[in-house]
Symmetry: C2
Subunit: 321 residues, 2 copies
């Protein structure tokens, strides 16, 4: 089966994102290297615009709309970073954006999305399906729906994170990233394998959100019930139709970490490296800190996917043992 994206698509996305997305820093830590035995390179997408990698794919996708599509605007559903990614990209490109969000979403997320100028349409999670709400808006207003991950331009955009990382550290042995819907890892794996065919790539999810792990075992897209996990970016219930074949081809294995290991990694990043990762952003670092990847001495690139969290959640996590 043909894959949804190629390395050329990632290169093309990089050209569009130049000067618009942040080229995020790669950080290293003597302490981490001593503790793990690897040479670890953190790609810090928590320093990306909107605080997460999602801006890359959103901007790439919106920038490729036709003038007619741009004039009619875009719609998506997300209670997380994709909402803000689309909202900011739309603002920069002068496109109207509607974000469908649950009526019980945190006030801070609603405010942040509205702060970028997007229109927020609320739906009731008990009585409505968000996909139906956004489809209806797309039909009524002629808007283009932009899927959070199962979209070639979104996938290619996210891949620019790995492109930058491999430019900075060309001889990486291992690449580790979190995997929710697969948008980030499909793009990053496409880029990394093209640049360095011998690289070993791991996706990491939390134990309860193991749809990818199960799908790798059964070699088909397994659907799981809504998982209970601290890492909200892991709450997708099934691998994407477009992302699954890409990841199946390029990714060596899906690793699982516990919520407790994620919280431990988050605290380690905060108090030792002095950087804030959101729980989903600490998922891949957790696997590295647990030494689940590669042989001793391996050069390991790990993606910190985002850093958006409110004070209440962080205070709660710090209060836990």
């Amino acid at each position: 089966m043909d894959l949804a994206i190629s390395f050329d698509d990632v290169l093309s996305a990089a050209a569009r994102l130049r000067g618009v997305a942040n080229r995020t820093p790669v950080m290293t830590s003597r302490t981490v290297n001593e503790l793990t035995g690897y040479q670890v390179f953190f790609k810090c997408e928590n320093f990306q615009r909107i605080g997460a990698f999602k801006f890359r794919g959103a901007y790439n996708a919106l920038s490729r709309l036709s003038e007619a599509e741009k004039a009619r605007g875009v719609v998506t559903h997300s209670s997380g970073n994709h909402a803000q990614g689309i909202a900011l990209a739309a603002k920069l490109l002068g496109i109207r954006a509607v974000i469908v969000m649950p009526s019980d979403a945190p006030a801070s997320k609603l405010a942040a999305t509205r702060g970028y100028g997007a229109e927020v349409v609320l739906y009731d999670r008990q009585t409505q399906e968000r996909a139906e709400v956004s489809d209806q808006i797309a039909r009524d207003r002629g808007m283009t729906f932009v899927h959070p991950f199962d979209h070639p331009h979104v996938m290619a955009g996210q891949g620019t994170a790995a492109l930058e990382l491999l430019e900075d550290v060309p001889d990486l042995d291992v690449l580790v990233g979190p995997i929710g819907g697969g948008g980030l890892l499909s793009g990053c794996a496409t880029a990394a394998k093209a640049i360095r065919p011998d690289i070993t790539i791991y996706g990491v999810e939390t134990e309860t959100a193991n749809d990818w792990w199960l799908s790798f075992r059964q070699n088909e897209r397994v659907h799981i019930p809504p998982p209970d996990t601290i890492a909200d970016g892991m709450r997708t219930q099934q691998p994407g139709r477009l992302t699954f074949p890409v990841i199946r081809r390029y990714v060596q294995e899906i690793l699982l970490v516990s919520d407790a290991q994620v919280i431990e990694a988050l605290k380690f990043l905060l108090f030792r490296l002095k950087i804030l990762a959101e729980p989903t952003g600490a998922v891949a670092p957790a696997a590295v800190l647990q030494k689940k990847v590669g042989p001793p001495g391996a050069k390991v690139g790990v993606i910190i996917s985002g850093g958006n969290m409110d004070a209440a959640l962080l205070a709660q996590l710090l209060g836990e043992a």
Copy 2:
């Protein structure tokens, strides 16, 4: 009066620190620039080894000891970052170090200092003077006392932070740093004024810890009672004998911020820039976020001096309004 250090001393320190201290990143933020109207460049010493700038001065000072002095070891008193700076520098240079710390210091700080291989000697804050305890040790064991700030090699070492910042951003209009004992700002001002004579330099302290502010008014080193402030690096009670003349000559003005403004800045850095500053590290950013420096559009360099904080304190700060 001759000043204790010159620009040559800072350059010489930089040569000794090359490959040993981290060259810390300079971070920028569109959000900060929009909010303040300045172009702000954060020099991130929270990413320095031991999590604060103090390693620079400590290593420079210890590396300059004679072989006989190195063989006898060093002693200092500190309950904060200077302790860890001396401990790590001593370990790297193969020198024995004794750190005099209060018996009620947080267990995490005692453990961190011992973790670098230093010997910790505890004293009772109610009944003993720490200077007397360390003097006694210096006499008994023939060790060299290394003052936390009033020491030419310490001052020159700290100045390398500004040297790096001006190398990265040569056309800075304003430099802003926190001022406790004055070690950091005396070195940084010496470097910045030598490289860019027209630069305007501000020192920032918290309102209750206003010994420098008073000393600028009275043009002499004013001694204040122990101040109550969240920023523990501000708790020195009098400008240094060596640091005062340097800072009096090069620094335009001392700015005051409230503890509440420091906490607000700390939270802003954490949740918007995704980096952890300790309260003292957020003092200079607080003055910038309060727009207390320079005209609109000014290129403002600001030093985040450190990021060491335990989880309990951060949880407490997050719980406050």
